[in-house]
């Protein structure tokens, strides 16, 4: 058993499941947005804001933002623990990786708050 304090959830198994489920949510949302552009080739701003004033669409959008946040954290954590290791960077590795992950955390938080503001703000 290898322990880790910076991965997304309690175990590698739940991280793995979150990664897969969030990928499915993101795929469904991408198809949904793509579908809008196919159905309304001449999409106007009124139609666009009309679609996004629907609560179901807002919920779906918010779910996708949350899925994106989880997916991004697990993905970036995986990349960081693959390439920013002591094999590559020596004793500075943990410091460099934590700074990198802090940057990722900040960016993900910004996306999350911004998403809430866009979909639920006035």
């Amino acid at each position: 058993m290898v322990t880790s304090a910076t991965n997304f959830s309690r175990t590698g198994l739940s991280d793995w499941l979150v990664q897969r489920v969030s990928a499915i949510v993101l795929l469904a949302y991408s198809l949904f947005i793509f579908g809008i552009f196919v159905l309304y080739p001449e999409l106007s701003f009124e139609q666009w804001s009309g679609i996004f004033s629907n609560n179901a669409v807002r919920l779906f959008s918010m779910m996708s933002v949350l899925a994106l946040c989880g997916h991004a954290w697990i993905g970036m954590w995986t990349i960081a623990t693959d390439y920013l290791t002591s094999l590559q960077l020596g004793s500075a590795a943990t410091f460099v990786r934590l700074v990198f992950q802090l940057g990722c955390a900040l960016l993900i938080t910004v996306y999350l708050l911004w998403g809430i503001q866009i979909f639920w703000g006035s």
């Binding site: 058993m1 290898v2 880790s4 590698g12 198994l13 991280d15 623990t81 693959d82 390439y83 290791t85």
Partner: protein
């Protein structure tokens, strides 16, 4: 033919170097790579490599042959080198070099030990033996044949990046060999030791292990089975 061999003696060399040796290879038959290496050693007796059974059973002569891991003794020259081209031999990637083509396999064995590669059974020992049906025995086919040559594990980038944390395809194949054994009663204990983010889940399914296994085994499938068992137990 020209044979290019990775040479490194840590006691005398500052850094490794590829050294070319001209070897007279008979043209009337197809030699194995190990035969060519033996011919090269006749010319330069200081070349160091491991070999023993010369028939793909002991797993000693795993090495990187023209960019692909394999056992030198059962790899025909014609399958790795086009006529007129060079044969390039390097040690297995990702492990410390002891000398020339000999690598230090300590960390590979350490990962193997982690999966407790032996039967664990809490039930009372029967008088004669623990019986197993032919159907249950058949579940071990494709798992028990591993000879621990390390060709798969050292071809896996996840092992290169985290050799101390990711068990690697060879170890995980053995982990599943005991998870799948009807005589073993420690499945949940074994699975509990594998659910962390590194031991199993560093596998990204690129299947390098399957491509290089000299025994034709499929560690990626075994890892998939372990994942399914973890999901069934915990999800």
């Amino acid at each position: 033919m020209l044979v290019s061999i990775y040479r490194y003696n840590p006691e005398t060399d500052l850094k490794p170097a590829m050294v070319d040796i001209e070897v007279d290879v008979p043209t009337d038959r197809d030699l194995m790579v190990l035969d060519v290496l033996n011919l090269a050693k006749e010319k330069d007796t200081t070349i160091a490599y491991r070999r023993s059974c010369r028939e793909g059973v002991c797993g000693s002569d795993g090495m990187n042959i023209n960019g692909t891991n394999g056992l030198a003794c059962i790899t025909p020259l014609s399958s790795v080198v086009k006529p007129g081209k060079k044969l390039v031999l390097r040690p297995l990637p990702g492990l410390p070099v002891v000398r020339d083509l000999v690598v230090d396999m300590s960390i590979f064995y350490k990962q193997f030990e982690k999966v407790k590669p032996y039967l664990m059974n809490s039930e009372p020992v029967p008088n004669i033996e623990r019986l197993q049906s032919p159907e249950d025995r058949a579940k071990l086919d494709g798992l028990y044949e591993c000879i621990l040559c390390a060709c798969c594990t050292t071809s896996c980038p996840s092992f290169w990046w985290n050799p101390d944390k990711f068990i690697g395809p060879a170890g995980l194949l053995q982990a599943y060999r005991f998870l799948a054994d009807s005589r073993d009663t420690a499945a949940s204990e074994r699975l509990a030791g594998l659910e962390d983010p590194f031991s199993v889940f560093r596998c990204r399914g690129i299947m390098n292990c399957v491509a290089v296994c000299p025994k034709g085994l499929n560690p990626t499938r075994a890892i998939g089975h372990i994942r399914s068992m973890l999901i069934e137990q915990s999800a």
